[in-house]
Symmetry: C2
Subunit: 420 residues, 2 copies
């Protein structure tokens, strides 16, 4: 089953907005064993939309469009879809009722633009949109499907997950492979994509690992690897061989983020976490607390951006800062210990460094970051050097702190493996 995505909106081609809708849909298409063959972004322009829709209908069985439906967009997209599928705009009471309901909920007055959203092509089926005012429109012709969804990410996500995917599954039931692709995921740190590839393609690498499809998914600060096979035994053997070969670089398994891995691991081992962040400026706290349920293991953070904050909030000795500098393993150690005491946690991580672009001192270039790790086994700190922009140094240092924590944790005892 071949899919295309068309994201409609001037803002996408002006660079004002990052298109996160396409990757969201792409990952769900892949997860269902379908194939996304092409995606594109076009202006709110009738000719561009028409060309893109016709091209996509030629390339694929299912075309997903997002955007081009806002109240200020003059319904360009709807007119084009009328032209493509042969129909005209008619007033749809169910859409009008939904618009009135949402405006009432938000306590907003209706206006002429919102009224116009109720005009939809008579050649489509309107699917419910509980999250917004734009209609979701399902077109079918010549065994091809086109679904037009709103561009607001929240509305698109709800629509695609709750309305479109179940309908697509029902429609193409039976056309799906009887042997869906199976995956194993690994998160690695300390090895490059090309070195890992060289290692896996070496003649000494045993089959099936040498022959299995390996997807390299580089992330900021770590490498994500996916092994693919439609044979469960082949995948299990290859996975065991991969863990044997690359074990020293693997810090987490499964289709997870580093922060999710930290939360799950700490939860399983009944440990708790706090953070003390200088150069990462709250990013580790933000990563952890973005995961629902993180409060079960996470007590909080002190973002000690100034020296006084380090001294007053988490008891870093002023003489350590004066003697070794704020960017030092001594200060990182004191920060980790200080925040674990303040927040009453069994584990903590700390960062102090130079995210750039300014702030470099002799011997401590931009990208120098000291990371402290506190666990029930003790506290250790180490110095790291990261390259890239300020945002990349912050991101890489945050991920490194989490991988260091995962590696520093005490080994599990058999009892702790039991789920509680």
């Amino acid at each position: 089953m071949r899919f295309s995505i068309i994201a409609i909106g001037d803002e996408l081609l002006l660079g004002n907005v990052v298109d996160t809708n396409t990757p969201f849909m792409a990952s769900l298409i892949d997860a269902n064993g379908w194939q996304l063959v092409h995606s594109c972004q076009v202006h709110d322009d009738p000719c561009d939309i028409l060309f893109a829709v016709r091209d996509a209908l030629n390339r694929s069985d299912v075309v997903l469009t997002t955007g081009g439906l806002g109240p200020t967009k003059d319904d360009i997209t709807k007119q084009v879809l009328c032209e493509c599928f042969g129909g005209k705009l008619v007033y749809d009471e169910s859409v009008a009722e939904n618009v009135r309901r949402i405006f009432a909920e938000r306590g907003l007055p209706m206006n002429r633009l919102t009224e116009s959203q109720a005009m939809v092509p008579d050649c489509c089926t309107v699917l419910p949109n509980l999250t917004g005012t734009a209609p979701v429109m399902w077109f079918e012709r010549d065994n091809k499907v086109l679904v037009s969804m709103p561009g607001v990410p929240r509305e698109m996500r709800y629509t695609f997950t709750d309305q479109v995917i179940p309908r697509l599954k029902k429609l193409i039931n039976g056309a799906v492979s009887e042997h869906p692709m199976l995956h194993s995921f690994y998160l690695l740190e300390g090895i490059s994509e090309s070195d890992l590839d060289t290692m896996l393609e070496s003649p000494s690498t045993p089959a099936p690992l040498r022959d299995i499809h390996v997807a390299y998914l580089p992330q900021t600060g770590y490498l994500k690897i996916r092994l693919d096979s439609d044979d469960a035994d082949v995948l299990a053997n290859a996975s065991a061989q991969f863990r044997e070969l690359a074990g020293q670089y693997i810090f987490a398994t499964g289709d997870v983020t580093p922060e999710r891995a930290v939360i799950d691991t700490l939860y399983d081992r009944r440990l708790t976490l706090s953070t003390a962040e200088s150069c990462t400026g709250g990013n580790i706290a933000h990563m952890i607390t973005s995961v629902p349920g993180s409060s079960a293991i996470y007590n909080g953070s002190v973002v000690s951006y100034s020296n006084d904050m380090k001294i007053n909030a988490i008891n870093v000795p002023a003489e350590d800062i004066a003697r070794y500098g704020a960017v030092s393993t001594q200060v990182a150690t004191a920060m980790a210990d200080g925040v674990a005491l303040l927040a009453d946690t069994t584990c903590s991580v700390s960062t102090t460094g130079i995210a750039g672009p300014g702030g470099a001192t002799p011997g401590k270039p931009v990208g120098t970051v000291c990371i402290g790790i506190h666990t029930p086994l003790g506290t250790a700190a180490s110095t790291h050097h990261f390259t890239g922009t300020r945002a990349e140094v912050i991101e890489r240092a945050s991920v490194r702190a989490l991988t260091l924590l995962l590696r520093a944790l005490p080994p599990t005892t058999p009892n702790q493996h039991i789920k509680h």
Copy 2:
């Protein structure tokens, strides 16, 4: 001058990676007065790449490609470009030298895959890539230009900004409009896109504001507006009228983020900031500290995710938490005052609420957030309700805290306008 962008990579169509390269290039294309007419994402597949390149060369004068050049990608892209522009792969000593230099800098051993990066089409000009091993290739034929750049964002950004843009400017000098488009930007909160549009298109709205092109750029938590004109006087008049009409909703002006506006405003007024975050979990700290130079006004944050952290780190009275609940204006006020005292700052913001999906209590549904604002004029707290996912509630609450701070700041005195 018409541009197309082709982003190459299986990972983009599997949804494993968000394409941030395209919006980065798009905004620079727009800033230079050029026009991006189309962008797309294709697999690492020779047929798909060839089709996309031919289509893009038909549509536009300049085609930018990113990705498809990694050491594990087997040089598919280079072979396709040889076919398109008529050439063959040859060994380029300057690329090999660059690969050796970068591996030496990173202390990594060379391998067979990195050696292969030195093979480039003989029909292109190789531009320097100081940030990575992949070659940057510039092709010209029939008054069309194609530039092939690496997909790693840091390498693409350097390449595009430092190598490609200056060369494009030189090439198309004279073809650029003598009247480049001028822009005014406004950040608004408290009005919807459609209500603003209705207001601006009302017959009572004076020209030139009624006639000027207005771009609506909705962001999570606020609305960004861009007024466009190639006539400076028209733009100045329309901008003055816009400020008159929508002033109550405007919390910042210029092409800035809310965090940048906060930092600039506090710096200009010689004020300092700290934050105490519960439900936003460090996101406000992360937003602020992501801006270079933020340490001039920002001392730090306490992410008080647990009640004990609120009590022990920033002195929130335990009896307030017991009596009013952790999500209350009383606790938000105490958090704001507590962190301002601890961090020794003139201003602070605090958040305490329910980001979801769990945690709702009777009378306090998911999305309820109390925000405290401390300024030299005093401390105030208010309760807000946000919709959306956990990530959206965190983002919206963070932005609202910053807009509330900007609005609560004491009015400037003439002296404070003088730059120091």
